[in-house]
């Protein structure tokens, strides 16, 4: 195999890092330099990624690993860093660099009037670097390092408009909630370290140890579930999903890049990267499937009643990530491929939807969908591309989302019949909330205060490109064409064509869209009636099942209370006890040594007297015994 470009893969993350450094060094006043550097260098990463992908489409590809950077070493122990290119990584590299590049370009328009645009591009470059570093990491610890770095970049970008208290709260929440998951991953890595032969943490060794049966049983289950907890945090899975909708406080291009296409998918990528460990544990797989399936339907139902365009899409992302997890949890290589396939298609159509939403927000300065309306007339490109995204996400044949969702559902149908129906229902809700969103925003009467206008070309061209991908990306893998699955896993997929699944999932999609059109396209008054009739349900969904409130009551408040109690304990009991004993000692000291010349001298005298006494005592004892 040809590795001319593959061996240069380490440059891919370094380009955007270089952009970040240029921007940091040149300062925020150098707007043209900053944005230009970011776009040009991300473009370079993209080109190199594509070249590597092309290389890997050839015959006889093998994984390429380089790990000669001695990150940590003492004695015989070394922890090396390096990079590894597999087909999965190569695919991820292209997805990340492409979406990042498009978002970079789009942000030229979206962030044009922001005085901190250079800082923004700097953060985006830093994020792109970290995400690419995560993708090419050759061991789990290195992955963890970048895993945390993408989290920080996400934090910085969610809180980009730092003067807004909501942005501050959202940034903090994003960091802390994902950190809970990260601790799981951290423990998982520590346990893995001690249970791997030779304390190795690189993916090849993990694969070999599992194949050789050296990592099995309870410990494998524990490690797999701990790793999964990390993925739950990053990918916004229940019960750590609460940060992701709040993260929509960040600028919209960020939501597209980080909170839809790349970082949040890192959880799925992590599970895929350590899939060997999951495969030896039935319990771990079940957990993944259940959490994923539950999250898929749970988040979809919340999305049905949200009013903020970005929050609807955020819950949709949570739900779709649940879909991917659910696929991973089925535990066959075909389901694994289907999950990653969905990651691929979702990256395109969800980035498209977010950037489309950004275009809308840019035009009407409003995020409440009920204050928009009728945008279809003025924003043609945005409307058409958004429609494509909607259909793709809803899973209407033959757009990309249909094929990936169908691949997952077909596997569920074979192996997890119950979860199949869950997935199908979630698909119905997905189509419904997307139709609701689409018809409310783009059809009907305009409610907007501003006269809407189509966005500039720098914003619409990325939309068009993503729309094109959302249409065609599905054709790399469909019943009868097992290319992607075979390429990712190196195995023959025994893909059965389930016509009933295909028909059912299309029915669910069309049914959801039809119902959405019926309620929000034609008879919107009816929805008000429904909301009042089912007040309790409506309130529960609007309040997202009161999960935030539950956490507030179960964790945040008690922690604050405990803090208050401990504060009193610290002031009164701990300090009091010490004061008391000090008081006693100084009392004795006052009686013994009549000195009123201040602490220092008293102290000095005590020391000297002490030295003398103790010396005499020891010498004396020794002397007595000797004598």
């Amino acid at each position: 195999m040809n590795t001319d470009f593959t061996q240069l893969a380490w440059l891919i993350p370094l380009f955007p890092l270089f952009a970040f450094m240029i921007i940091t060094a040149s300062g925020k006043s150098q707007k043209a330099l900053g944005t230009g550097a970011s776009i040009a260098l991300t473009g370079a990463s993209f080109v190199l990624s594509v070249l590597i992908l092309l290389e890997r489409l050839g015959e006889d590809v093998t994984n390429y690993t380089w790990n000669q950077f001695h990150w940590l070493s003492f004695g015989n122990f070394t922890m090396n860093f390096g990079f590894e290119i597999t087909n999965l990584n190569a695919m991820m590299l292209v997805v990340v660099t492409l979406v990042s590049l498009l978002v970079n370009v789009y942000s030229l328009g979206y962030m044009k009037d922001d005085e901190r645009i250079a800082t923004f591009f700097g953060y985006v470059s830093l994020f792109t670097f970290s995400m690419l570093g995560l993708v090419i990491s050759e061991n789990l610890l290195q992955l963890y390092v970048f895993w945390e770095l993408v989290g920080v970049c996400s934090f910085l970008l969610v809180g980009f408009w730092y003067h807004k208290p909501e942005a501050r709260a959202a940034a903090k929440k994003a960091f802390i909630v994902t950190r809970i998951g990260d601790v799981g991953l951290f423990i998982g890595i520590a346990l893995l370290f001690w249970h791997m032969p030779g304390n190795k943490l690189d993916f090849t060794s993990i694969h070999n140890a599992v194949s050789a049966g050296e990592l099995t049983g309870g410990i494998a289950t524990a490690i797999a579930i701990l790793i999964f907890i990390g993925a739950v945090g990053k990918s916004g899975q229940f019960p750590l999903h609460t940060w992701l909708p709040d993260a929509m406080e960040g600028p919209t291009p960020i939501s597209a890049l980080i909170h839809a296409a790349t970082m949040v998918a890192a959880g799925v990528y992590l599970v895929a990267r350590t899939y060997d460990i999951f495969l030896v544990s039935e319990a771990a797989l079940e957990t993944v499937a259940l959490i994923g399936g539950f999250t898929a339907i749970f988040a979809a139902t919340i999305a049905v009643v949200q009013k903020d365009i970005k929050r609807i899409l955020a819950y949709s992302t949570v739900s779709q990530l649940g879909y991917m997890m659910f696929a991973m949890g089925i535990g066959t290589w075909a389901a694994y491929s289907a999950g990653l396939f969905h990651l691929l298609t979702h990256a395109f159509f969800k980035a498209l939807l977010f950037l489309g939403a950004g275009s809308v927000i840019h035009a009407v300065h409003e995020q409440n969908i009920f204050k928009m309306g009728g945008l279809g007339k003025t924003m043609k490109i945005t409307t058409i591309t958004f429609a494509i995204g909607t259909l793709a996400l809803s899973g209407v044949a033959p757009l990309s989302g249909f094929w990936s969702k169908d691949a997952i559902l077909a596997q569920a149908y074979e192996h997890q019949p119950l979860l199949f129906w869950v997935g199908l229902t979630a698909a119905f809700f997905t189509a419904f909330y997307m139709a609701r969103l689409f018809f409310v925003v783009f059809t009907g009467k305009s409610q907007a205060k501003h006269a809407p206008h189509e966005s500039p070309k720098v914003m619409t061209v990325p939309l068009l490109i993503l729309a094109g991908l959302a249409v065609v990306a599905g054709f790399v893998y469909f019943p009868g064409n097992e290319f992607l699955g075979h390429w990712l896993t190196g195995m023959e997929m025994e893909e059965h064509v389930h016509w009933n699944v295909i028909i059912l999932s299309n029915l669910a999609a069309l049914g959801g869209i039809g119902l959405g059109y019926f309620l929000y396209g034609k008879n919107r008054d009816l929805t008000v009636n429904l909301a009042t009739r089912y007040k309790g349900l409506h309130a529960t969904l609007t309040n997202k099942y009161y999960i935030d409130e539950a956490y507030e009551a179960a964790v945040v408040k008690p922690l604050g209370g405990l803090g208050g109690v401990l504060q009193v304990f610290d002031r009164v009991v701990v300090e009091g006890a010490v004061k008391l004993s000090v008081g006693v000692m100084t009392g004795i000291n006052r009686i013994g040594v009549h000195l009123q010349n201040g602490q220092t001298q008293t102290y000095g005298v005590i020391s000297i007297v002490g030295i003398v006494v103790i010396l005499l005592w020891f010498v004396g004892r020794r002397f007595l015994n000797v004598g």
Partner: protein, 533 residues
């Protein structure tokens, strides 16, 4: 040429150059005093860099060792001596040396002292006395890390207390005198306990027989004492050699170990001996806290390494679980209390308690990973807390307050300081690519092998740290601009230099930890040689 110079002594007493120079400057001449004092802190810094360059990370044992007879007290004059023994004496030598554990701490000391000297330019009164104390303090700290003899260690340890007492008491905030008194009292008690422990050690394990010179002597040398404790046939371990003489029985060993644990535990501090340092953090001038939190607290941990793990391997093993539990208490207790503080300095004080818990965890794991983590944490936390208090000083100077409620939106008015503050916060919560992560990772990794359950409880601290750090940092930098931070001036050149230097080191140690772990390795192996495995 350098080989023949007593480099350690030169370094140790190099602050005297500044002290002497200052003595000749009239005390009203503030600018000259500052200029002399600041530049004189760079002399030790340069010398310690020379040491770092010359140090052989793969060499065994002490390097640059110096040994001069210091206190030699003939006892045979006063006491009859056994037959055949010609001399009977105390032998305390001026013995210096550095290994891979102490050299980084020496370098940390000179570096942070220089940075703190720079940031002390805002001191408003009595500059001359201030900097005299400051330089004297540096001598004490350097001596603690270089000493190779118990008595010498003790002397330097005490030397640090006196200037520190005045630095708090004269230049501190409103309650400075109480804080200074409390500081002295607690540390005095700690020293007294340490002294008792040292005397027990000297009079038992330090008691040796020199066959060549036919002499009996008491020694304070670390190596003599450690070797005698490890040697089952030495006087220290054998009750019967001198007919039931005072020897280091198991009970006495445990007693001495606990004395040392408490003595250094007060300094570290270990819960529940931590309350004194809260006052120091809030009352002392921030540049002095840089030294206090950055270096002085580390002396406690250093003592645990040198006298706990190294001299009492059995007892350390025996008490390892207690140490681990104390470590977790420190981590979680400190973190929860940091979470509810309304004053930035107290957040940082409790944060230090929490972070020193990681040192205990690392020591408790008693494997090379954990000890590496603990030692790494000393350097890492030294840099991070120095950076934190550097920023605290700047905030206090500009706004006159460090109350969280009165601060907010600083990112708008002071973007550079806020940015560095955020980096310091990230390092403090153990973000990868900063030194804090490496320390935390290694300490926990080590503990997971030995006490996985305790380690899991300890990881709670990782989340809680993120919560309290972000709470404080974001309250101050993000959000609407509070009146107190409006119209302020961002960092001056003299202020940004130490910030940039500290950030650079924190990142270097985070991105390429091998530079420090390699150096620590041999020293830690030697220290844990009695542990086995």
């Amino acid at each position: 040429m350098l080989d023949n110079l007593p480099l350690l002594s030169l370094l140790l007493f190099s602050p005297l150059v500044g002290i002497l120079a200052l003595l000749f400057v009239p005390k009203q001449n503030g600018n000259l005093i500052k200029w002399i004092a600041i530049s004189s802190t760079f002399l030790p810094l340069i010398l310690s860099i020379i040491l770092l360059v010359q140090f052989n990370a793969h060499g065994e044992g002490m390097q640059f060792a110096e040994n001069v007879r210091w206190l030699h007290i003939e006892l045979s004059k006063y006491t009859p001596v056994l037959e055949g023994i010609e001399h009977f004496y105390y032998d305390f030598s001026y013995s210096l040396g550095v290994d891979g554990l102490s050299l980084p701490l020496v370098a940390l000391t000179t570096f942070i002292t220089a940075m703190a000297a720079l940031s002390s330019v805002v001191i408003k009164k009595r500059w001359k006395t201030f900097y005299l104390m400051f330089l004297l303090l540096e001598i004490g700290m350097l001596g603690v890390f270089m000493a190779r003899d118990l008595m010498l260690f003790f002397v330097f340890f005490e030397i640090t207390l006196i200037p520190m007492f005045f630095l708090i008491g004269i230049w501190g905030n409103k309650e400075r005198e109480r804080a200074a008194n409390q500081f002295l009292l607690y540390n005095g008690i700690g020293s007294a306990l340490m002294f008792i422990a040292f005397m027990i050690l000297i009079s038992t394990a330090g008691f040796s027989f020199n066959e060549e010179k036919l002499s009996l002597f008491y020694s304070g040398s670390y190596d003599v004492i450690a070797a005698n404790i490890a040697n089952l046939d030495s006087f220290a371990n054998a009750a019967d050699i001198l007919g039931g003489a005072f020897f280091l029985s198991d009970g006495l060993k445990a007693f001495t170990f606990v004395l040392l644990l408490v003595a250094f535990g007060i300094k570290l501090p270990i819960f529940p001996f931590h309350t004194w340092m809260l006052k120091v953090h809030t009352e002392a001038p921030p540049s002095v806290v840089m030294i206090h939190s950055g270096i002085l607290l580390k002396m406690g941990a250093y003592g645990l390494f040198r006298f706990g793990v190294y001299m009492f391997p059995e007892q350390t093993q025996h008490w390892a679980m207690a140490l681990a539990i104390l470590g977790v208490i420190n981590i979680v207790y400190g973190a929860i209390l940091a979470l509810v503080q309304k004053e930035l300095k107290l957040v940082l004080a409790y944060s230090s308690i929490s972070h020193m818990g990681i040192v205990l965890l690392g020591i408790a794991s008693l494997n090379i990973y954990g000890l590496q983590g603990a030692a790494y944490q000393l350097i890492s936390h030294g840099l991070i807390s120095a950076l934190m208090f550097l920023i605290v000083g700047m905030i206090q100077e500009r706004t006159g307050t460090t109350e969280l409620d009165r601060l907010g939106g600083m990112a708008k008015t002071l973007p550079f300081i806020s940015g560095v503050f955020l980096i310091a916060g990230m390092a403090s919560l153990g973000l990868p690519a900063t030194s804090g992560f490496v320390a935390e990772f290694l300490a926990f990794l080590g503990l997971f092998d030995k006490y996985p359950v305790i380690a899991i409880v300890g990881t709670l601290g990782i989340v809680l740290t993120a919560v309290y750090v972000l709470r404080a940092v974001l309250k101050i930098t993000f959000g609407p601009t509070e009146p107190a931070v409006e119209g302020l001036r961002d960092a001056r050149y003299i202020e940004s230099a130490p910030m940039v230097a500290l950030v650079a080191l924190i990142l270097l140690l985070g991105i390429y930890p091998a530079v420090l772990t390699d150096m620590l390795n041999n020293a830690l192996h030697l220290i844990m040689r009695g542990i086995g495995g």
